[in-house]
Amino acid sequence: MKLVVSHLKKRFGSKEVLKDIDFTFQQGSIYALLGRNGSGKTTLFNLIASNFSKDAGTVKLIEEDGSMHDIKNEDIFLMVAEPILPRFLTGYEFIKFFVEVHHVTNVDIDAYFNQIEFHPQDRHRLIQSYSTGMKNKLQMIMFLILKPKIILMDEPLTSLDVVIQLQMKRIIKQIQKDHIIIFSTHILQLAKDLCEELVILNDGYLQAIDQEVMHTQDFEHNIIELLKDKEDEHH
């Protein structure tokens, strides 16, 4: 299974955010999408998830049998850094609602809560009182239940404490073989720890980084230079 992004372009007013994104993401790998603030990482995710209209280009999914089609709603899940969830529901009720509207049968909701170590009492509290970490855990349950082919994570670990970060990393590792996972971050160490592939979004273009670079001692320095150089050229 592959996610094929071809000649994707997006402009907001006079600013050309994505100039020509041309890349293929493979199933089974976790991709770290690196980029500076404002480089267009979230825009790219929203274009792939069809939340924004594209100025040009296509986003297709190639199945294991070789058939190619547009991305359907159930194929993709976009996990955002600071989710806004319906605050009048409890976490349990929200997941129940999510399961029912997606017609997923034979789901043991409590088992999923247990899997991500969500305290039983908290499940029945209002989302209004949840921390960002708890909301992120709910998002994880959502994609664990839905099992979408593509999981996009927009800086999901940035605002979480180390314990929850570790839990989430473990779960992402567990499910990676069945999905195409793209993980945007600007924390280099996190990218190195969690991801097999590294892509850089800079100046409106997406560029793969050689895997050998990830394992060198001056990895961080090289990436920073790479981002800096592009920025300097831009100016």
Binding site: S50, N73, P83, L85, P86, R87, F97, V101, H102, L126
Partner: protein, 520 residues
Amino acid sequence: MNIINLYIRLSYIQVCQLINAIVAFFYNFPIIKKMHGHTYGFYGFKSVVNRIAFVGAFLFHFFKDALSYVVVLGGISVGIKSLLGLLPIVNDLSVLEILILLNLAMFIFVSNTMNNIVSIKQLKTYYHLPLMDLVYIKEFVTPFNTFINEWIILSIVAHFTSMITYVQAFLISLLFLTTNIVCSALNLKLHHVKKSLGGFILFIIFLVIFFGLVYSYRLWGQNQTFVLLVLNGMSLVALPMAIGIIQTYPHYDGILEDSTLSKYEAVTKYRYTNQVALKDSDVHIKKSNKKGYALLNDLFFKRNFRLLVKPSLIKTGVYLAITAFYVLAMRLNWFHFAEKDHLYAILSTTPIVMYIGCNDSSIIISMYYNCDNSLLEYGFYKQSKAILEMLYLRLWSMLKIFLMPTSAFLFFVAIASKLSKIPLDDMLKLMASSLFLMVFFAFYLLLIYYLLVPFTQDEKIKNPIYYIVNFAVYMIFIFGNKYITSVDMLFYLSLIVMIVVVVFGGVAIYYLAPKTFRRK
């Protein structure tokens, strides 16, 4: 601090601001703009609408407040005439005269009818001053606003009627200004003595002022200007004492600060999320056995009960109280209308009553900030099928809420028909029309919500078309009643309007909402 000097300085600022705002508006008249270089071009439609939306919003709030005032005070005037008609001091006055006097008396207590939020935002846009400063200035300027508004309104009354002259209009306005300050001082003094008694004593003062005005009005027939001069003189004598109280009151700055802060919060962020924030008591042991979207909708309406249902319960209570009063008035023969006048009165007020009872925008504010703002993050919630399913679930829930004030009104119609011998078929048509209008308003609110999504994440109503549509509907329902001359006309019009909105609105939502219904 010399408060008079401060008022004069601030009123000067206000007048300058007003003039500058007018100049700025015409300078930026939103038709032609300077393009790059030296060429000129036309603004796009959206740009034009956005620029004039502010003026529209301002006018909308002004008219809405003023008219709501007249409608509410009109009801109270009829009540006063009926209840106090036996008193010689009131008996000679017509309902219209009571309405005008009541309106004038009320202005002393109500700071101004204009929407503070809109005008503060306007000042911020034009003058780039810190928001807190503007709100603070606004708080000081309020009595002068009242004075200017009253002067304008009374001058209009003087122009079109022979009730008062221009000189009297000025004297009355001046009286309001000074009385306003005196009342503020008394309020402070009472607040200082015993907080809980403040409201009650102010109500007594209001009654005294009202009867003072009634008494003065009756004297105007002999020498109106003289009475006004005397009243102004009395008020001016009390003014130094009032200013003394204000100046020496130890907590005055605190009160002003509180008031300023609340206004500041109203014009900045979290205006709506605060307004629709849930309390723990809202969600106490409320469960639902429903599934999917029905579960979401059920829990939303149950847990937002306080925000969504209570306004309708209050309106229901008011309608029932009016019904009880009507029955009492009929039994005691307080009304001296012909029977056909009863029918006409009910006929002409039905659209307004239904507008007040069912056009509740707080429901769609709650829908957006407590529910859809979050779920629109996810693609499944924006699909046509999901939108349509939620639309009809919500419509049904809203109809159940609106049925409360509507039932109270239907009860009133039934009672009124019985007591004033309105024919049965007319009564049934009036009832049916009310139900059609109830459906219309529920669907109308959802239609503009799904197609225009008038709210933004930063909690500012952004969509100018929302203002225009709302204003148009308001004008139709408030002023359109005089064109409705028969029960049949109301029946068929409300039926057609309901069918058109439900059928075309439903189709429009199905095809357009997947594109329009999104976070902004």
